[in-house]
Symmetry: C2
Subunit: 427 residues, 2 copies
């Protein structure tokens, strides 16, 4: 307990950075006991060290000169909470070269440049930790990297974007997309420019990171096909509800024989599935593996203090393992191929606008059967000589199912483009 | 990667011990990368080293002489998976004195002798880890000790016994206690002697451990009042269902102003509560705190491979932090008083067998009002001149509510003893 204080540097002193500083001070006693020495934030990098701030930092804490952190020998680990790709990436590489471990909350940087950054950390014998980059205070990264070592994890799936989950929860109650988006923006869940959230881009970055650590292979955001909820029609949320499903924006990474399947898409989740009941802005990640069977983590996926809590957990983790080889090796030692979703089995939800006449369903069913797609359930709502025909299929090879759907779309009795959504199996 | 192998000892080579050995070998590549050196089980203690075993251990692995593990300088950490109180406790103390860290799955030992064991580990500068002692592969101990350092955790509540959750799930579908118990035994979920599970004793040991680490204070199993499901009537499960609740065996530890409230009891959980949907043999633990808000972990709470996976996570954790002060200090540095449930607020479910006559409800309601207990909902089922009167109260000081209930029980119109169960709030 009489060990000399350990110095921490911060890149960024906004909502998360100042919360890291505040929480570390507030929990000084616990932190000292866990680490075995006091821990203090010594320097924090900001654009303008003299600008007034609500967080009221103590004198001498802020600097606008990155070198003052990089070259400070009393700082052993740095938390990067400034975001962005550059200069963040370059500075992180400089910190590794200076022998400092880094903790980051920056999912976009990791999902794009993870390979280079992890290799550089290994080269310099330091750690790169990133709990806060995925689902804030939900400790999914630590659990995957440290608790599941003995379990061959074969699937990671979940709700990894709180904004869209908040919106989908409201849409399930009958609200339409535009109204719900405005509400999410008014409540601060959605940004003024919500593109990153509603198109699935934010979720895709998290899936890239989760897939990488679950399967020890490099997956970048460009590998992750993603659809968002911006093209989702509330009529499909209503039909799904009638059929016993919630619609959730599901991010998935599955280990299959040929490699890894990844993706983000609005997906029908059976009511009995644990992810179905995760409502509002909460996130949830389900890990499936041999020895662990199925472990699900649920909690807030965003927030300043929540993110700061994850950053501090990582800082403590780095300090705790500072004299061992633990988590030093670049964990992404496999090069598994990315397998297109078309090559694996999925159940699909299909909504068609068809002429309401005898024989239409028979024709459609026989086209599906031609491609070995069998039907789980059918609902039809007719009005004015036309019908909304909703079909949920049993799991089938997705490419074959989409081939059949294209043939169905080409039928004279079909109007417009069929709506196709994936369906999670209940198990 | 060329570091020399790290030796591990096992106390016990049954289902869990042999699974630790098997999984460590199967995942050798990953383990080596994470730890920075190969890891191997060098010795395993058993009662009879020459007895035939399904796990088919390699020659020279088994020993029936504890000293061969304690005195082996190549063994740095030992996993205790033999169970029992003695000689386990004494051997653990000897291992600490020999400079070896210990990983244990032994909840009864920790819940009874934790204070002594953690103090001894600190004295000798070694670690005692115990993930497998609570909910098998659900990493709640690691999350509480390592991820929530910056968050003042103020409540831990959950379903920490899979046997009773399996039974309650079946009872919710209408089965009675005896039938369900027989089914649980046939399926291997319940022991031939199910006392420990059905009386809440197993859950109480886990609550003692969780409360200790969440609040940094010593809580033993003797501090944890527990009721089980052995006295639960399926009529109350049915009434609860009608009122929109599941009945779950809930273990709770709450930080209140005066200290810590702990307990295990069958509890009504609102359908909208995340714990309500956790069915079958799964466990779930919800952690509430300031910075993290609410994080819930769900998964299998038992099983050989699941438990072995948790043991291996801890072994890796010890090896990773072997040259730092991390998690060395005895974490239980507070001495918080145990506060009786009577002194804090709870909502209660109350079932009374009353004479079906005018004015009975008015009398009962006024007695409750005398003790400042207000009523949330009332259901009454009448037959043959008597009625089952079910009342759910708003949260009130439990002592006051129980005082009122005693007065109600003493009424002439009341027959038998009122059934009283706690009710979780939805939030």
């Amino acid at each position: 307990m009489t060990a000399s204080p350990i110095g921490i540097g911060l890149l960024g002193y906004g909502t998360v950075g100042s919360a890291v500083d505040r929480l570390l001070q507030a929990r000084q006693e616990d932190v000292t006991r866990v680490v075995g020495a006091p821990v203090e934030v010594r320097r924090a990098l900001v654009r303008d060290a003299s600008a007034p701030r609500d967080s009221n930092p103590r004198a001498g804490l802020l600097t606008s000169d990155f070198a003052e952190i990089r070259d400070d020998p009393s700082i052993t680990v740095v938390a990067e909470v400034m975001g962005g790709i550059e200069p963040t990436r370059s500075w992180m590489l400089e910190l590794f070269a200076a022998g400092k471990s880094v903790v980051t909350a920056n999912k976009q940087l990791l999902a794009r440049h993870g390979a280079e950054l992890f290799a550089a950390a290994e080269e310099h014998g330091v750690q790169l930790r990133f709990e806060a980059s995925v689902c804030a205070a939900i400790p999914v990264v630590k659990v995957l990297r440290e608790s599941m070592i003995a379990s061959e994890v074969n699937a990671v799936l979940g709700i990894v974007n709180g904004t869209t989950n908040f919106m989908l929860t409201a849409m399930a109650k009958g609200a339409d997309y535009a109204t719900v988006l405005a509400e999410a923006q008014a409540l601060g869940y959605a940004e003024a420019d919500p593109t990153e959230d509603v198109t699935g881009g934010d979720a895709a970055a998290k899936v890239a990171i989760l897939a990488s650590i679950a399967f020890h292979t490099r997956v970048t955001i460009d590998d992750v096909p993603h659809e968002g909820i911006d093209t989702l029609d509330s009529i499909d949320v209503a039909f799904a509800g009638d059929l016993g499903y919630s619609v959730k924006l599901i991010g998935q990474a599955r280990r299959v024989e040929q490699g890894v399947v990844v993706g983000v898409a609005p997906t029908l989740v059976p009511r009995a599935h644990p992810l179905s009941a995760v409502d509002g802005s909460f996130n949830a990640v389900m890990l499936r593996g041999d020895a662990i069977r199925e472990v699900t983590l649920v909690g807030p996926g965003a927030g300043g203090d929540e993110t700061a809590s994850a950053v501090i957990g990582d800082l403590m983790g780095v300090l705790g393992t500072s004299n061992s080889g633990f988590l030093r090796a670049d964990g992404f030692f496999r090069s598994l191929p990315i397998v297109p979703a078309d090559d694996v089995e999925s159940a699909l939800y299909l909504r068609l606008d068809v002429r309401d006449q005898p024989g239409v369903l028979a024709t459609i069913a026989s086209i599906l059967a031609d491609d070995q797609v069998s039907i789980d359930s059918v609902v039809q709502r007719a009005s004015d000589g036309r019908a909304q025909l909703v079909i949920v299929t049993h799991p089938a090879r997705e490419g074959a199912a989409r081939h059949a759907i294209q043939r169905i779309a080409d039928l004279d009795v079909c109007e417009g483009t069929p709506v196709v959504l994936r369906v999670l199996s209940a198990g």
